[in-house]
């Protein structure tokens, strides 16, 4: 199951993953420059992350709907594939944020 998911992410969602990671790095950079106490910056980061997720979902549904049976015959729903992708992307963002905050606080 894990092998199948790995194949699907590397073959079809490489670009989405890379864009999500770049967006995370961009916001981490902003946090480092502006400081970690700016509430609006957190809101902005979450807004752009959500925008990215919605765009990905929209593109997948609009232009790649024929892939639906391809995923489903492997036993996966869109919810599972994209949900896992978005969850991992957001977790990486939070991890980077925490690491950079610790880095800036103690070093």
């Amino acid at each position: 199951m894990l092998q199948k998911l790995k194949f699907l992410y590397f073959r079809h969602f490489k670009l989405v993953g890379a864009l999500g990671f770049c967006l995370s790095l961009y916001f981490i950079n902003l946090f480092v420059i502006k400081g970690f106490d700016k509430i609006n910056l957190y809101n902005l980061a979450v807004f752009f992350k959500l925008l990215g997720y919605c765009t990905t979902l929209g593109i997948e549904k609009l232009f790649f709907s024929s892939r639906s049976f391809y995923y489903k015959n492997l036993g996966f729903s869109y919810r599972r594939i994209l949900g896992t992708l978005f969850m991992v992307d957001f977790a990486i963002f939070l991890l980077l944020l925490l690491t950079s905050w610790l880095w800036m606080s103690f070093i």
Partner: protein
């Protein structure tokens, strides 16, 4: 209990009731032929079973367990009418992705063996259709819903596909729909006709005439 079971299926497209209290079951070892005119709801019924289309009402069990989307069980696969695998994927990768238990058997099939490094989109329409069907037939899925598997296939390729279906006829359950009704008559162990939103058991070609599927 090794059975795919669906009943009380009710589905509408707008004001038109396509399926009304439809019942269908398929046991492992059975090849069920599903016939019906264009627009009678055959494909819709298969999509409802698979979990692609949400009906107004249904009652679905896979091996005795209630479910709303059969594909989530991993025991049901669906061959759609159109190509469903992205054209840029290599056949070798697809074999690894879809098959497990029967992988070595599939690797002996000539159309697979000779094209392992080929992208599936580079195959001819008929061969691509055959490869997609084979990937599902040789997968671990226990029940296969084949929606018009013989369309686009040359007679020799259709015969090859039939031989693979027969090969797994005892180990898996098949529900097959097609307009080439003679192919269905030839391979199925049981037949069902969907007409006017209801299902009827078919025992011979005469029943098809009686129910208005074939001209008198």
């Amino acid at each position: 209990m090794d059975e795919l079971y669906i009943d009380s299926v009710n589905h509408r497209y707008g004001d038109r009731e396509v399926l009304s209290s439809v019942f269908l079951n398929c046991r492992v070892g059975e090849i069920v032929g599903l016939l019906g005119r264009n627009g009678s709801g055959k494909s819709t019924l298969l999509k409802i079973i698979f979990g692609e289309t949400k009906p107004r009402f249904m009652h679905l069990k896979v091996d005795g367990r209630f479910t709303k989307k059969a594909y989530l069980s991993g025991k049901v696969a669906y061959l759609s009418q159109g190509f469903f695998i992205p054209h840029y994927l290599k056949i070798g990768d697809l074999v690894n992705l879809y098959t497990n238990k029967y992988k070595n058997d599939l690797l002996t099939v000539s159309v697979i063996k000779g094209n392992l490094k080929e992208e599936i989109g580079n195959l001819s329409g008929g061969n691509r259709r055959l490869v997609e069907a084979l990937l599902l037939i040789y997968s671990d899925a226990k029940y296969l819903l084949l929606d018009e598997p013989f369309s686009q296939l040359a007679p020799i390729i259709a015969d090859e596909l039939k031989s693979h279906i027969f090969k797994f006829g005892k180990e898996k359950g098949f529900i097959i729909t097609d307009h080439y009704y003679q192919q269905i008559l030839e391979i199925s162990s049981r037949m069902v006709l969907i007409t006017n939103g209801c299902n009827y058991t078919i025992n011979s070609e005469d029943d098809l005439i009686l129910n208005g599927y074939l001209p008198n």
